[in-house]
Amino acid sequence: MAAAAAGLTFLALCLPFLGALIAPVVVRRLGHNAAWLLALLPGFAFLHFASLLPTVAAGRVQLGGFDWVPSLDLRFSWLIDGLSLTFALLITGIGTLIVLYAGGYLKGHVDLGRFFSFIFLFMGSMLGLVVSDSFLTLFVFWELTSITSFLLIGFDHHREASRRAALQALVVTGGGGLLLLAGLLLIWQVTGIGAMSNLLKAGDIMRASPFYLAALILVLGGAFTKSAQFPFHFWLPNAMEAPTPVSAYLHSATMVKAGVYLLMRLNPVMGGTMAWQTILPAFGAATLLVGTLLAIRQTDLKLKLAYTTVSSLGLLVMLTGFGTDYAVEAAVLYLVAHSLFKGALFMVAGIVDHETGTRDITRLGGLRSAMPLTFATALAAAVSMGGLPPAFGFLAKEEIYAALAQSSPAAIILTIIAVAGNALMFAIAFAVALKPFIGPRTETPHQPHEAPPLLWLGPAVLALLGLLSALFSAPWHAYVSSPMASAVGGKALEISVSLSPHIGLPLALSLVTVLIGILVYWQLDRARFLMSVVLRAFGPGPDRGFDGFIFGLVRLSHGVSRLLQPGRLEIYVTVTFLCLAAMLLIPPMIHGELPAMPAWPNLQWHEATIFLIAVIGVTAVVFARDRLTAIVSLGIQGFAVAVIFLLFGAPDLSFTQFMVETLAVVILALVMTRLRLSPSDRRPPLARIAHAVLATACGSGFALLLLKVTQAPFDLTLTAFFNQYSKLIAHGDNVVNVIIVDFRGTDTLGEIAVVAITGLAILALIRIRAGGERKLATNDPDLEEKLGFEEGMEAKR
């Protein structure tokens, strides 16, 4: 039974990726109605995860996975407990509705199939992220969500704003992902545990470790960038460049909640410390305030919602870091409530935009009669967002105030911030959900009418769920909230808050919140004006800072390339030989490993003659008047060396040397004829001396190295082995050849592959030269780049 369930879980994890594969084909056949069919895939996954609810509610967890590299303890594995199950349900459930919604929203779009593919890829990554048990799987899926969200945000890739937003999201969240990787590796190193399920029991080791703070900061770097915490919040509103289904999915329940998920997951391991309870509430509270204040200023429906998402994420981080059981419960309730109402409101904003042609709140009004269903949905979601009964958001807010209402100074400050933030969110909720629908009808680009079922189905279901979950809070808590809170808290927690009246401080704070909210809503235009004055006083924000950062990065890399790649062969060769000389000469001198003076060999007269020829060849190279003579003289020296090999019993080496020398002379001579060089050497004397010193250093370095090597006692084990077995095993008498083609054949295979690829590369280089001789002759990299660019532009035309 358990094995079958685990198999089904794996299948559910694969379903979104399957969807990504088939979506373009299905869309080509069925058009936008493919959404009905495609929505079945996440739907099935949702049903599977829903069937696990009773098991998890009973306190059990499902573990499963496959070994990948057992020797390194790397596994693909998943862990399903209350936390990951709730997330999985949100991802697949809202995912199903989003697929339907996208079918209506992007009806007739050329790239609808691609869009579905991207959405499914993202869904699969996100699902993988929240159920991951091993760190490796977690990190891979974490980065996958960054990459797929990059694709989604930049879906309208022909608009520059989209491309910029996509790149910004990728840089910020991907960069945070690298911090997370470092943090996870540090945790792995400290505890020796690479899986969440085991780590949860090892919190004491982690908290006691001297590396705790470093690991915490690295992990928070990942979580804060992903969940758009101040000062990394700027990418989220920019990401509203994406089509609305993307915003509704990524920026309500999934992508941006990944950071919160990580913090909740690690709460039992890293939470409860001074650092945790200081950093998280501080950043969370700052984000909450900044988000709501910035949201007030906006007039675009989507941007308003985006900034309130930032503030909600801040609230969640604040609660996760507060450190009491109540706070954990509040965070859990608010996370679920937020996913439901924010998803619905984003979709409503999309419907309004789709049907009227504008999202500007100042240009919208009186839509209630034209779009009654959308209005009702929007109101239901706004009631939850504003924290009014009978919605789930009300329960969440009561729990928040119950958690924060303590007497310590920090708690009082956080309570004030929470009240202020909630009040502003209340005002914005109704600004988004009420204002466009009431009042006198305004002129809009399109004549508004009610949205088709594909569009209203998603938000309606979410909004309804936000009410039902509050009305039937007992079973909802039993199956969803309590198991999740237990997983986050690291111990069994029971959530009991319900709609039944309970007089006390939380209710009083709620009343204050609502009163301030109504006041702000009433004076919204004035509040907006005030905020824009304040913000102008602050000057440019981190968004501009990002541009400056990217600009500086590009400048820096240009400078570095210019420094390292000057484009002059002369400099490359000089640097190479300088390094070579240093490598050969400095280490033996430091370690005192210079060779002893060799004994004078007893040379035969013919051997001496050959040596003499080699010396004459080298001398001729140095003193040659023109280049061709120098090349041929070099060949003479090479032939002399080949003869020496022959005399000392290495015929194979000698043969090869002969042929290589011959070909080298031929090819060098051919190359020389093609280079625009003066026939003779016209270097200034100073350069000649410098090059001579460098050449002597390299040459003597090699000589010393060879002397040292030959003076070391020679190990004959391999020689004996090859001599003994060459004929016996490999049926060959020529040991050298047998080594090349048999004993070390795989090496040779690699080498000949290199030879073939080198041939290919050199041919390409020669071809480029043949095509653009004039450009290369000047040897100016900038000019070449410019010409190449112009050529590219012409090709485009």
Binding site: P651, M659, L663, V666, G732, N737, V755, G759, L760, A770
Partner: protein, 139 residues
């Protein structure tokens, strides 16, 4: 270099060198020689032919593009390694057969196929460079 004597002698010289290169390749297992040296000899032979009679003549004579020859050599060498896998022994283990052709026992092996691959890669890669450099008409 383009003398009449050189141009007349070059085709014969090339033919002889090519023949010699194959001889060196085949005897390599027991005597000095082998695919690498053989390939270098063949490459010099083609270079000589190219200098004497022009690149077009060489390209016509070897039919295939030199890089195709190199690629084929790489393929042959890889197949030689994979054949051992098919026979159920580790990659690159030498396999030998001794068929009798015209009453003479001829030892054949995957090692020989491999060495031939080395030969072709060396010939192909170097010839392609040399020919491209000799080709001055395209400038």
């Amino acid at each position: 270099m383009n003398t009449l004597i050189f141009r007349t002698a070059a085709p014969f010289l090339t033919a002889l060198m090519l023949l010699f290169s194959v001889f060196v390749l085949l005897r390599g297992h027991n005597e000095p020689g082998g695919g690498f040296i053989g390939g270098l000899i063949a490459a010099s032979a083609l270079a000589i032919y190219g200098i004497a009679c022009g690149v077009t003549a060489v390209r016509r004579a070897i039919v295939f593009h030199p890089l195709s020859i190199a690629g084929f050599g790489l393929l042959a060498a890889t197949i030689a390694g994979i054949l051992s896998l098919l026979a159920g022994v580790p990659f690159m283990t030498g396999l030998w057969i001794y068929p009798h052709l015209f009453g003479v026992e001829v030892p054949l092996s995957t090692v020989m196929l491999f060495d031939t691959g080395v030969y072709l890669v060396v010939v192909g890669a170097i010839t392609s460079i040399a020919l491209a450099l000799e080709e001055r008409e395209v400038d």
